[in-house]
Protein backbone atom coordinates (compact mmCIF):
# COMPACT_ATOMS: atom_id res chain seq x y z
CA UNK A 1 0.00 0.00 0.00
CA UNK A 2 1.49 3.38 -0.96
CA UNK A 3 2.28 5.73 1.86
CA UNK A 4 0.09 8.81 1.83
CA UNK A 5 1.27 12.37 2.34
CA UNK A 6 1.85 13.27 5.90
CA UNK A 7 0.39 15.57 8.45
CA UNK A 8 -1.28 18.83 7.74
CA UNK A 9 1.26 21.16 9.28
CA UNK A 10 4.27 20.00 7.31
CA UNK A 11 5.95 22.47 5.00
CA UNK A 12 4.96 22.13 1.39
CA UNK A 13 8.41 21.53 -0.06
CA UNK A 14 9.16 18.50 2.06
CA UNK A 15 9.39 14.86 1.03
CA UNK A 16 6.65 13.53 3.28
CA UNK A 17 6.80 9.80 2.74
CA UNK A 18 6.90 7.59 5.77
CA UNK A 19 10.52 6.66 6.25
CA UNK A 20 10.63 4.04 8.98
CA UNK A 21 10.72 0.47 7.68
CA UNK A 22 7.76 -1.84 8.22
CA UNK A 23 9.48 -3.98 10.93
CA UNK A 24 10.41 -0.84 12.87
CA UNK A 25 6.87 0.49 12.56
CA UNK A 26 5.40 -2.82 13.78
CA UNK A 27 7.74 -2.96 16.77
CA UNK A 28 7.10 0.67 17.71
CA UNK A 29 3.35 0.22 17.24
CA UNK A 30 3.29 -2.70 19.68
CA UNK A 31 5.26 -0.67 22.24
CA UNK A 32 2.91 2.30 21.77
CA UNK A 33 -0.18 0.13 22.24
CA UNK A 34 1.16 -1.41 25.44
CA UNK A 35 2.19 1.97 26.85
CA UNK A 36 -1.04 3.76 26.01
CA UNK A 37 -3.16 0.87 27.26
CA UNK A 38 -1.44 1.23 30.62
CA UNK A 39 -1.74 5.02 30.59
CA UNK A 40 -5.50 4.55 30.23
CA UNK A 41 -5.89 1.53 32.52
CA UNK A 42 -4.08 3.02 35.53
CA UNK A 43 -6.71 5.72 36.23
CA UNK A 44 -9.45 3.31 35.15
CA UNK A 45 -8.34 0.88 37.86
CA UNK A 46 -8.42 3.65 40.47
CA UNK A 47 -12.00 4.80 40.00
CA UNK A 48 -14.16 3.25 42.75
CA UNK A 49 -15.06 0.41 42.55
CA UNK A 50 -12.46 0.00 39.81
CA UNK A 51 -12.36 -2.15 36.71
CA UNK A 52 -11.08 -5.68 37.50
CA UNK A 53 -9.70 -5.99 33.98
CA UNK A 54 -7.79 -2.72 34.22
CA UNK A 55 -6.62 -3.68 37.71
CA UNK A 56 -5.36 -7.02 36.46
CA UNK A 57 -3.45 -5.41 33.58
CA UNK A 58 -1.90 -2.74 35.76
CA UNK A 59 -1.00 -5.25 38.46
CA UNK A 60 0.82 -7.41 35.93
CA UNK A 61 2.75 -4.43 34.62
CA UNK A 62 3.62 -2.94 38.01
CA UNK A 63 7.36 -2.70 37.33
CA UNK A 64 6.75 -0.43 34.35
CA UNK A 65 3.88 1.53 35.91
CA UNK A 66 5.55 2.18 39.24
CA UNK A 67 9.13 2.68 38.13
CA UNK A 68 8.03 4.97 35.31
CA UNK A 69 5.71 6.97 37.59
CA UNK A 70 2.62 6.63 35.42
CA UNK A 71 0.65 5.35 38.42
CA UNK A 72 -1.71 8.32 38.60
CA UNK A 73 -5.47 8.67 38.61
CA UNK A 74 -5.62 12.38 37.62
CA UNK A 75 -8.31 13.08 40.21
CA UNK A 76 -7.69 16.83 40.38
CA UNK A 77 -10.28 18.26 42.82
CA UNK A 78 -12.25 15.05 42.33
CA UNK A 79 -14.70 13.59 43.09
CA UNK A 80 -15.24 16.83 45.05
CA UNK A 81 -12.85 19.56 46.12
CA UNK A 82 -12.21 19.06 49.83
CA UNK A 83 -14.72 20.60 52.23
CA UNK A 84 -11.75 21.32 54.47
CA UNK A 85 -8.00 21.43 54.43
CA UNK A 86 -5.60 20.21 57.06
CA UNK A 87 -2.90 22.02 58.95
CA UNK A 88 -0.64 20.85 61.69
CA UNK A 89 0.22 22.82 64.78
CA UNK A 90 3.34 21.68 66.50
CA UNK A 91 4.97 22.54 69.79
CA UNK A 92 8.66 21.95 70.27
CA UNK A 93 10.07 21.98 73.78
CA UNK A 94 13.59 21.98 75.14
CA UNK A 95 15.04 20.92 78.49
CA UNK A 96 17.58 23.72 78.38
CA UNK A 97 16.73 27.43 78.41
CA UNK A 98 15.68 27.67 74.77
CA UNK A 99 12.20 29.04 74.26
CA UNK A 100 9.36 26.74 73.27
CA UNK A 101 8.51 26.92 69.58
CA UNK A 102 4.89 26.82 68.46
CA UNK A 103 4.13 26.94 64.76
CA UNK A 104 1.47 26.14 62.22
CA UNK A 105 2.23 24.41 58.94
CA UNK A 106 1.89 25.25 56.11
CA UNK A 107 2.74 28.87 56.56
CA UNK A 108 3.37 31.46 53.89
CA UNK A 109 5.66 33.24 56.35
CA UNK A 110 7.82 30.17 56.89
CA UNK A 111 7.77 28.52 53.47
CA UNK A 112 8.74 30.48 50.41
CA UNK A 113 8.41 30.41 47.41
CA UNK A 114 4.84 29.30 46.95
CA UNK A 115 5.85 25.91 45.57
CA UNK A 116 7.68 25.12 48.79
CA UNK A 117 4.61 26.19 50.76
CA UNK A 118 2.55 23.82 48.62
CA UNK A 119 4.95 20.94 49.28
CA UNK A 120 4.45 21.47 53.03
CA UNK A 121 0.72 21.77 52.47
CA UNK A 122 0.74 18.37 50.79
CA UNK A 123 2.53 16.91 53.84
CA UNK A 124 -0.26 18.09 56.11
CA UNK A 125 -2.94 17.03 53.65
CA UNK A 126 -1.46 13.51 53.55
CA UNK A 127 -1.70 13.27 57.30
CA UNK A 128 -5.20 14.70 57.16
CA UNK A 129 -6.35 12.23 54.52
CA UNK A 130 -5.12 9.30 56.66
CA UNK A 131 -6.96 10.75 59.64
CA UNK A 132 -10.12 11.14 57.58
CA UNK A 133 -9.75 7.52 56.51
CA UNK A 134 -9.58 6.41 60.15
CA UNK A 135 -12.67 8.51 60.91
CA UNK A 136 -14.51 7.02 57.97
CA UNK A 137 -13.69 3.42 58.92
CA UNK A 138 -14.73 4.05 62.49
CA UNK A 139 -17.97 5.68 61.43
CA UNK A 140 -19.38 2.49 59.92
CA UNK A 141 -17.54 0.03 62.14
CA UNK A 142 -15.33 -1.42 59.45
CA UNK A 143 -13.51 -4.71 60.19
CA UNK A 144 -11.12 -4.34 63.11
CA UNK A 145 -8.09 -5.34 61.05
CA UNK A 146 -8.79 -2.67 58.47
CA UNK A 147 -9.23 -0.02 61.13
CA UNK A 148 -6.06 -1.08 62.91
CA UNK A 149 -4.08 -0.92 59.67
CA UNK A 150 -5.36 2.58 58.92
CA UNK A 151 -4.52 3.74 62.44
CA UNK A 152 -1.02 2.28 62.21
CA UNK A 153 -0.48 4.08 58.94
CA UNK A 154 -1.64 7.35 60.45
CA UNK A 155 0.48 6.87 63.53
CA UNK A 156 3.54 5.99 61.45
CA UNK A 157 3.34 9.16 59.39
CA UNK A 158 2.67 11.37 62.42
CA UNK A 159 5.64 9.80 64.19
CA UNK A 160 7.80 10.39 61.13
CA UNK A 161 6.90 14.08 61.11
CA UNK A 162 7.52 14.33 64.85
CA UNK A 163 10.92 12.69 64.50
CA UNK A 164 11.86 15.14 61.81
CA UNK A 165 10.93 18.11 63.97
CA UNK A 166 12.83 16.71 66.95
CA UNK A 167 15.92 16.22 64.87
CA UNK A 168 15.71 19.49 62.94
CA UNK A 169 15.46 21.53 66.14
CA UNK A 170 17.63 19.30 68.35
CA UNK A 171 14.67 19.38 70.71
CA UNK A 172 13.61 17.19 73.61
CA UNK A 173 9.87 16.96 73.14
CA UNK A 174 7.45 17.60 70.35
CA UNK A 175 3.71 17.38 70.05
CA UNK A 176 1.67 17.62 66.90
CA UNK A 177 -1.97 18.56 66.61
CA UNK A 178 -3.89 18.09 63.43
CA UNK A 179 -6.16 21.01 62.63
CA UNK A 180 -9.05 20.77 60.23
CA UNK A 181 -9.94 24.06 58.56
CA UNK A 182 -13.49 23.86 57.17
CA UNK A 183 -14.59 25.79 54.11
CA UNK A 184 -17.75 27.71 55.05
CA UNK A 185 -20.79 27.68 52.74
CA UNK A 186 -20.79 30.76 50.54
CA UNK A 187 -24.09 31.83 52.07
CA UNK A 188 -22.31 32.19 55.42
CA UNK A 189 -19.60 34.30 53.79
CA UNK A 190 -22.25 36.54 52.24
CA UNK A 191 -23.59 36.92 55.77
CA UNK A 192 -20.27 38.26 56.95
CA UNK A 193 -18.43 35.15 58.11
CA UNK A 194 -14.76 35.26 57.19
CA UNK A 195 -12.82 32.35 55.72
CA UNK A 196 -10.52 32.35 58.74
CA UNK A 197 -13.30 32.55 61.31
CA UNK A 198 -12.09 30.76 64.46
CA UNK A 199 -15.14 28.50 64.52
CA UNK A 200 -14.03 26.95 61.24
CA UNK A 201 -10.95 25.38 62.82
CA UNK A 202 -11.22 22.05 64.64
CA UNK A 203 -8.22 20.92 66.62
CA UNK A 204 -8.06 17.28 67.57
CA UNK A 205 -7.12 16.25 71.09
CA UNK A 206 -3.53 15.93 72.12
CA UNK A 207 -2.06 12.58 73.12
CA UNK A 208 -2.54 9.72 73.15
CA UNK A 209 -3.30 8.75 69.58
CA UNK A 210 -7.02 9.09 69.17
CA UNK A 211 -8.67 6.04 67.74
CA UNK A 212 -11.92 7.74 66.94
CA UNK A 213 -10.46 11.05 65.92
CA UNK A 214 -7.47 12.35 64.14
CA UNK A 215 -3.88 11.79 64.91
CA UNK A 216 -2.05 13.34 67.63
CA UNK A 217 1.44 12.47 68.58
CA UNK A 218 3.67 13.37 71.45
CA UNK A 219 7.07 11.81 71.56
CA UNK A 220 10.29 12.54 73.34
CA UNK A 221 13.92 11.90 72.58
CA UNK A 222 14.15 8.68 74.72
CA UNK A 223 11.09 7.32 72.94
CA UNK A 224 12.65 8.24 69.65
CA UNK A 225 15.76 6.23 70.44
CA UNK A 226 13.71 3.19 71.40
CA UNK A 227 11.23 3.52 68.59
CA UNK A 228 10.83 0.55 66.30
CA UNK A 229 9.64 0.94 62.73
CA UNK A 230 5.91 0.64 62.72
CA UNK A 231 4.73 -2.02 60.27
CA UNK A 232 2.41 -0.91 57.56
CA UNK A 233 0.35 -3.62 56.00
CA UNK A 234 -1.53 -1.85 53.33
CA UNK A 235 0.06 1.17 51.82
CA UNK A 236 -1.30 2.32 48.47
Amino acid sequence: MPDKPAIEDAATDAPLAIRWSRPVRVAVSIALLIHLTLVFCVPLSMVEPGSPLAGWLVNNMRPYVQAGNISHGYAFFAPDPGRWSHLIRYKIEFDDDRATIERTMPSLDQQWPRLLYHRHFMLTEQLGSLASRVDELNSFEAPAEERAAAERELRALATSYARHLLHAHAADRVSIDLVRHNVPPYIDVRGGRTLDDESLYETFPVSPLATAGVSVERITQPELIQAEPIPLEEVP
Binding site: A10, A11, L16, W20, R25, V39, A168, I230
Partner: protein
Protein backbone atom coordinates in the same frame (compact mmCIF):
# COMPACT_ATOMS: atom_id res chain seq x y z
CA UNK B 1 -24.30 -14.24 -4.16
CA UNK B 2 -20.64 -14.57 -5.09
CA UNK B 3 -20.70 -10.92 -6.13
CA UNK B 4 -21.96 -9.88 -2.69
CA UNK B 5 -19.27 -11.91 -0.91
CA UNK B 6 -16.61 -10.45 -3.16
CA UNK B 7 -17.85 -6.91 -2.58
CA UNK B 8 -17.95 -7.43 1.18
CA UNK B 9 -14.45 -8.91 1.13
CA UNK B 10 -13.11 -6.01 -0.91
CA UNK B 11 -14.78 -3.45 1.34
CA UNK B 12 -13.36 -5.12 4.43
CA UNK B 13 -9.84 -5.21 2.99
CA UNK B 14 -10.13 -1.58 1.93
CA UNK B 15 -11.35 -0.62 5.39
CA UNK B 16 -8.41 -2.33 7.09
CA UNK B 17 -6.09 -0.75 4.54
CA UNK B 18 -7.46 2.70 5.35
CA UNK B 19 -7.11 2.09 9.07
CA UNK B 20 -3.52 0.96 8.61
CA UNK B 21 -2.70 3.95 6.42
CA UNK B 22 -4.32 6.25 8.95
CA UNK B 23 -2.33 4.68 11.77
CA UNK B 24 0.89 5.13 9.80
CA UNK B 25 0.09 8.76 8.97
CA UNK B 26 -0.86 9.53 12.56
CA UNK B 27 2.23 8.05 14.16
CA UNK B 28 4.96 7.79 11.55
CA UNK B 29 4.67 10.81 9.25
CA UNK B 30 7.79 12.93 9.78
CA UNK B 31 7.23 16.37 11.25
CA UNK B 32 9.36 19.36 12.10
CA UNK B 33 10.39 19.15 15.78
CA UNK B 34 9.87 22.90 16.42
CA UNK B 35 6.93 22.29 18.77
CA UNK B 36 8.78 19.55 20.62
CA UNK B 37 11.72 21.92 21.06
CA UNK B 38 9.43 24.65 22.41
CA UNK B 39 8.04 22.14 24.93
CA UNK B 40 11.64 21.24 25.81
CA UNK B 41 12.57 24.84 26.60
CA UNK B 42 9.51 25.51 28.75
CA UNK B 43 9.24 22.01 30.24
CA UNK B 44 12.97 22.00 30.97
CA UNK B 45 12.62 25.38 32.67
CA UNK B 46 9.77 24.03 34.79
CA UNK B 47 11.79 20.97 35.77
CA UNK B 48 14.74 23.19 36.65
CA UNK B 49 12.59 25.52 38.76
CA UNK B 50 10.69 22.67 40.44
CA UNK B 51 13.94 21.13 41.62
CA UNK B 52 15.61 24.44 42.37
CA UNK B 53 12.89 25.11 44.93
CA UNK B 54 13.82 21.91 46.79
CA UNK B 55 17.14 23.65 47.52
CA UNK B 56 15.37 25.90 50.05
CA UNK B 57 14.77 22.91 52.34
CA UNK B 58 16.67 20.06 50.72
CA UNK B 59 17.64 17.98 53.74
CA UNK B 60 14.18 18.29 55.30
CA UNK B 61 12.77 16.39 52.34
CA UNK B 62 15.67 14.27 51.10
CA UNK B 63 17.98 13.86 54.08
CA UNK B 64 18.17 10.84 56.39
CA UNK B 65 15.90 12.62 58.93
CA UNK B 66 13.40 13.97 56.44
CA UNK B 67 9.69 14.59 57.04
CA UNK B 68 9.02 11.14 55.61
CA UNK B 69 11.52 9.02 57.47
CA UNK B 70 13.67 6.60 55.60
CA UNK B 71 12.24 3.68 57.62
CA UNK B 72 8.73 4.57 56.61
CA UNK B 73 9.76 5.12 53.01
CA UNK B 74 11.37 1.68 52.90
CA UNK B 75 8.18 0.16 54.31
CA UNK B 76 6.13 1.97 51.68
CA UNK B 77 8.45 0.83 48.90
CA UNK B 78 8.59 -2.77 50.06
CA UNK B 79 7.23 -5.06 47.35
CA UNK B 80 7.00 -2.20 44.85
CA UNK B 81 9.18 -0.95 42.03
CA UNK B 82 9.57 2.59 43.30
CA UNK B 83 13.22 3.50 43.60
CA UNK B 84 15.30 6.43 44.71
CA UNK B 85 18.96 7.24 45.02
CA UNK B 86 18.24 9.26 48.16
CA UNK B 87 17.75 6.06 50.15
CA UNK B 88 21.46 5.54 49.87
CA UNK B 89 22.76 9.06 50.47
CA UNK B 90 23.46 9.98 54.10
CA UNK B 91 25.97 12.80 54.16
CA UNK B 92 24.60 16.29 53.51
CA UNK B 93 27.53 16.93 51.16
CA UNK B 94 26.59 13.88 49.09
CA UNK B 95 22.95 14.93 48.94
CA UNK B 96 23.88 18.46 47.94
CA UNK B 97 26.41 17.21 45.38
CA UNK B 98 23.78 15.00 43.80
CA UNK B 99 21.27 17.85 43.84
CA UNK B 100 23.67 20.24 42.11
CA UNK B 101 24.37 17.61 39.47
CA UNK B 102 20.63 17.18 38.92
CA UNK B 103 20.12 20.94 38.60
CA UNK B 104 22.90 21.06 36.01
CA UNK B 105 21.15 18.31 34.03
CA UNK B 106 17.78 20.10 34.14
CA UNK B 107 19.48 23.31 33.03
CA UNK B 108 21.15 21.47 30.13
CA UNK B 109 17.76 20.13 29.08
CA UNK B 110 16.27 23.61 29.19
CA UNK B 111 18.94 25.14 26.95
CA UNK B 112 19.19 22.04 24.75
CA UNK B 113 22.74 21.06 25.62
CA UNK B 114 23.67 17.40 25.01
CA UNK B 115 19.95 16.97 24.70
CA UNK B 116 19.80 13.28 23.90
CA UNK B 117 21.69 12.47 27.09
CA UNK B 118 20.32 15.25 29.27
CA UNK B 119 16.70 14.39 28.42
CA UNK B 120 17.12 10.76 29.54
CA UNK B 121 19.06 11.79 32.64
CA UNK B 122 16.47 14.45 33.48
CA UNK B 123 13.67 11.89 33.41
CA UNK B 124 15.57 9.43 35.62
CA UNK B 125 16.62 12.15 38.06
CA UNK B 126 13.08 13.49 38.28
CA UNK B 127 11.87 9.99 39.18
CA UNK B 128 14.44 9.58 41.91
CA UNK B 129 13.23 12.82 43.51
CA UNK B 130 9.55 11.93 43.21
CA UNK B 131 9.96 8.50 44.71
CA UNK B 132 11.65 9.93 47.80
CA UNK B 133 8.85 12.37 48.67
CA UNK B 134 5.52 10.67 47.90
CA UNK B 135 3.79 12.63 50.68
CA UNK B 136 4.73 16.02 49.19
CA UNK B 137 3.61 15.47 45.59
CA UNK B 138 0.70 16.97 43.67
CA UNK B 139 -0.50 17.50 40.10
CA UNK B 140 2.62 19.41 39.06
CA UNK B 141 4.69 16.25 39.44
CA UNK B 142 2.31 14.28 37.26
CA UNK B 143 2.49 16.71 34.36
CA UNK B 144 6.26 17.07 34.80
CA UNK B 145 6.50 13.30 34.41
CA UNK B 146 4.52 13.35 31.19
CA UNK B 147 6.60 16.12 29.66
CA UNK B 148 9.96 14.67 30.69
CA UNK B 149 9.01 11.16 29.58
CA UNK B 150 8.21 12.14 26.00
CA UNK B 151 11.02 14.64 25.58
CA UNK B 152 13.33 11.61 25.71
CA UNK B 153 11.82 10.14 22.58
CA UNK B 154 12.19 12.83 19.94
CA UNK B 155 14.99 15.18 18.85
CA UNK B 156 14.08 17.82 21.43
CA UNK B 157 17.35 19.65 20.87
CA UNK B 158 17.06 19.93 17.10
CA UNK B 159 15.99 23.59 17.24
CA UNK B 160 16.42 26.60 19.52
CA UNK B 161 19.18 24.83 21.39
CA UNK B 162 22.79 24.92 22.41
CA UNK B 163 23.29 21.72 20.40
CA UNK B 164 22.06 23.41 17.21
CA UNK B 165 24.17 26.50 17.83
CA UNK B 166 27.26 24.36 18.46
CA UNK B 167 26.77 22.34 15.28
CA UNK B 168 26.45 25.51 13.25
CA UNK B 169 29.55 26.95 14.86
CA UNK B 170 31.50 23.80 14.01
CA UNK B 171 30.16 23.89 10.46
CA UNK B 172 28.38 20.54 10.75
CA UNK B 173 25.13 22.05 9.51
CA UNK B 174 24.34 24.97 7.27
CA UNK B 175 23.86 28.31 8.90
CA UNK B 176 20.35 28.50 7.43
CA UNK B 177 18.21 27.85 10.48
CA UNK B 178 14.98 28.07 8.53
CA UNK B 179 15.31 24.91 6.46
CA UNK B 180 12.76 22.36 7.60
CA UNK B 181 13.88 19.40 9.67
CA UNK B 182 11.92 16.18 9.29
CA UNK B 183 11.75 13.73 12.11
CA UNK B 184 9.52 10.70 12.69
CA UNK B 185 10.42 10.36 16.35
CA UNK B 186 9.43 14.01 16.94
CA UNK B 187 5.97 13.10 15.69
CA UNK B 188 5.82 9.99 17.91
CA UNK B 189 6.84 12.06 20.95
CA UNK B 190 4.26 14.76 20.26
CA UNK B 191 1.49 12.24 19.55
CA UNK B 192 2.20 10.47 22.84
CA UNK B 193 2.13 13.77 24.71
CA UNK B 194 -1.14 14.73 23.01
CA UNK B 195 -2.84 11.43 23.81
CA UNK B 196 -1.61 11.45 27.40
CA UNK B 197 -3.07 14.94 27.85
CA UNK B 198 -6.39 13.65 26.53
CA UNK B 199 -6.36 10.69 28.93
CA UNK B 200 -5.54 13.01 31.80
CA UNK B 201 -8.40 15.43 31.10
CA UNK B 202 -10.81 12.58 30.40
CA UNK B 203 -10.24 11.06 33.83
CA UNK B 204 -10.03 14.46 35.49
CA UNK B 205 -13.55 15.08 34.18
CA UNK B 206 -15.10 11.65 34.67
CA UNK B 207 -13.82 11.40 38.23
CA UNK B 208 -15.35 14.80 38.95
CA UNK B 209 -18.67 13.48 37.72
CA UNK B 210 -18.71 11.16 40.73
CA UNK B 211 -18.87 14.16 43.03
CA UNK B 212 -22.12 15.95 43.93
CA UNK B 213 -20.53 19.40 44.05
CA UNK B 214 -19.71 19.35 40.33
CA UNK B 215 -23.37 18.62 39.61
CA UNK B 216 -24.86 21.25 41.92
CA UNK B 217 -22.22 23.75 40.83
CA UNK B 218 -20.74 24.42 44.26
CA UNK B 219 -17.38 22.79 43.46
CA UNK B 220 -15.59 25.97 42.46
CA UNK B 221 -16.57 27.61 45.74
CA UNK B 222 -14.99 24.70 47.65
CA UNK B 223 -11.80 25.27 45.65
CA UNK B 224 -11.72 29.08 45.72
CA UNK B 225 -13.09 29.32 49.27
CA UNK B 226 -10.25 27.22 50.62
CA UNK B 227 -7.95 29.66 52.35
CA UNK B 228 -4.92 27.38 52.17
CA UNK B 229 -5.11 27.33 48.36
CA UNK B 230 -5.93 30.97 47.71
CA UNK B 231 -3.17 33.21 46.46
CA UNK B 232 -5.39 36.30 46.32
CA UNK B 233 -8.58 37.02 48.29
CA UNK B 234 -11.54 35.19 46.73
CA UNK B 235 -14.25 35.69 49.37
CA UNK B 236 -15.97 38.17 47.02
CA UNK B 237 -16.99 35.20 44.88
CA UNK B 238 -19.59 34.37 47.54
CA UNK B 239 -21.57 37.38 46.27
CA UNK B 240 -21.82 35.79 42.82
CA UNK B 241 -23.32 32.30 43.32
CA UNK B 242 -24.35 31.93 39.68
CA UNK B 243 -20.78 32.70 38.60
CA UNK B 244 -19.61 29.86 40.85
CA UNK B 245 -22.09 27.49 39.20
CA UNK B 246 -21.12 28.61 35.69
CA UNK B 247 -17.40 28.18 36.43
CA UNK B 248 -18.02 24.68 37.82
CA UNK B 249 -20.07 23.58 34.82
CA UNK B 250 -17.75 25.15 32.25
CA UNK B 251 -14.76 23.40 33.84
CA UNK B 252 -16.45 20.01 33.61
CA UNK B 253 -17.72 20.64 30.08
CA UNK B 254 -14.31 21.74 28.87
CA UNK B 255 -12.44 18.81 30.45
CA UNK B 256 -15.02 16.29 29.28
CA UNK B 257 -14.95 17.48 25.67
CA UNK B 258 -11.20 18.02 25.46
CA UNK B 259 -10.32 14.54 24.15
CA UNK B 260 -12.78 14.95 21.28
CA UNK B 261 -12.54 18.64 20.38
CA UNK B 262 -8.78 19.19 20.60
CA UNK B 263 -8.20 17.19 17.38
CA UNK B 264 -10.34 18.94 14.71
CA UNK B 265 -8.68 22.09 13.37
CA UNK B 266 -11.95 23.98 13.70
CA UNK B 267 -12.19 23.54 17.50
CA UNK B 268 -8.53 23.15 18.48
CA UNK B 269 -7.91 26.86 18.90
CA UNK B 270 -10.93 27.28 21.16
CA UNK B 271 -9.87 24.34 23.31
CA UNK B 272 -6.33 25.68 23.62
CA UNK B 273 -7.61 29.12 24.61
CA UNK B 274 -9.81 27.36 27.16
CA UNK B 275 -6.75 25.51 28.48
CA UNK B 276 -4.84 28.75 28.90
CA UNK B 277 -7.73 30.46 30.70
CA UNK B 278 -8.45 27.50 32.98
CA UNK B 279 -4.85 26.96 33.98
CA UNK B 280 -4.03 30.64 34.30
CA UNK B 281 -7.00 30.80 36.66
CA UNK B 282 -5.50 27.98 38.75
CA UNK B 283 -2.11 29.68 38.62
CA UNK B 284 -3.33 33.12 39.64
CA UNK B 285 -6.16 32.38 42.06
CA UNK B 286 -5.42 28.96 43.56
CA UNK B 287 -1.76 29.45 44.40
CA UNK B 288 -0.49 26.78 42.02
CA UNK B 289 1.36 28.82 39.44
CA UNK B 290 3.75 26.00 38.66
CA UNK B 291 0.98 23.46 38.13
CA UNK B 292 -1.06 25.86 35.98
CA UNK B 293 1.92 26.76 33.80
CA UNK B 294 3.04 23.13 33.47
CA UNK B 295 -0.42 22.17 32.22
CA UNK B 296 -0.26 24.96 29.64
CA UNK B 297 3.15 23.65 28.54
CA UNK B 298 1.63 20.18 28.09
CA UNK B 299 -1.09 21.68 25.92
CA UNK B 300 1.51 23.25 23.63
CA UNK B 301 2.05 19.77 22.17
CA UNK B 302 -1.00 20.50 20.05
CA UNK B 303 0.56 23.52 18.32
CA UNK B 304 1.31 22.79 14.65
CA UNK B 305 5.04 23.07 14.05
CA UNK B 306 4.50 25.70 11.33
CA UNK B 307 2.70 27.84 13.88
CA UNK B 308 5.49 27.37 16.41
CA UNK B 309 8.12 28.30 13.84
CA UNK B 310 6.12 31.32 12.79
CA UNK B 311 5.99 32.34 16.42
CA UNK B 312 9.67 31.87 17.19
CA UNK B 313 11.41 32.64 13.92
CA UNK B 314 11.58 35.91 12.07
CA UNK B 315 11.58 34.36 8.60
CA UNK B 316 8.49 32.46 7.48
CA UNK B 317 8.65 28.69 8.05
CA UNK B 318 9.59 26.50 5.13
CA UNK B 319 11.61 29.22 3.44
CA UNK B 320 14.86 27.27 3.66
CA UNK B 321 16.47 25.85 0.59
CA UNK B 322 16.40 22.19 1.59
CA UNK B 323 15.35 20.05 4.45
CA UNK B 324 17.17 17.82 6.90
CA UNK B 325 16.03 14.33 7.86
CA UNK B 326 16.29 12.88 11.33
CA UNK B 327 15.02 9.64 12.77
Amino acid sequence: MNGCVHAARTATIDWFGDVLAGWNRFWFAPTDPATLCLVRILGGAMLFYTHLVWSRDLLAFFGPNAWLSRDLLVQRHEGTYFWTVFRHLDAPSAIWGFHLFALAVFFCLMIGAFTRVSSVLAFLLMLTYLHRVPTALFGLDQINTIIAMYLMIGPAGARYSFDRWWKKRRGRIEADDHAPIWSTSANVALRLMQIHMCVMYFFAATRKLLGASWWDGSAMWLAFGNLEYQSIPMHWLAEWPMLIVVLSHVTIAWELSYAALIWPKMTRGVMLIGAVLLHLGIAIFLGMATFGLAMIIGNLAFLPSRFTRGLLERRPPGSGTRGEFRQ
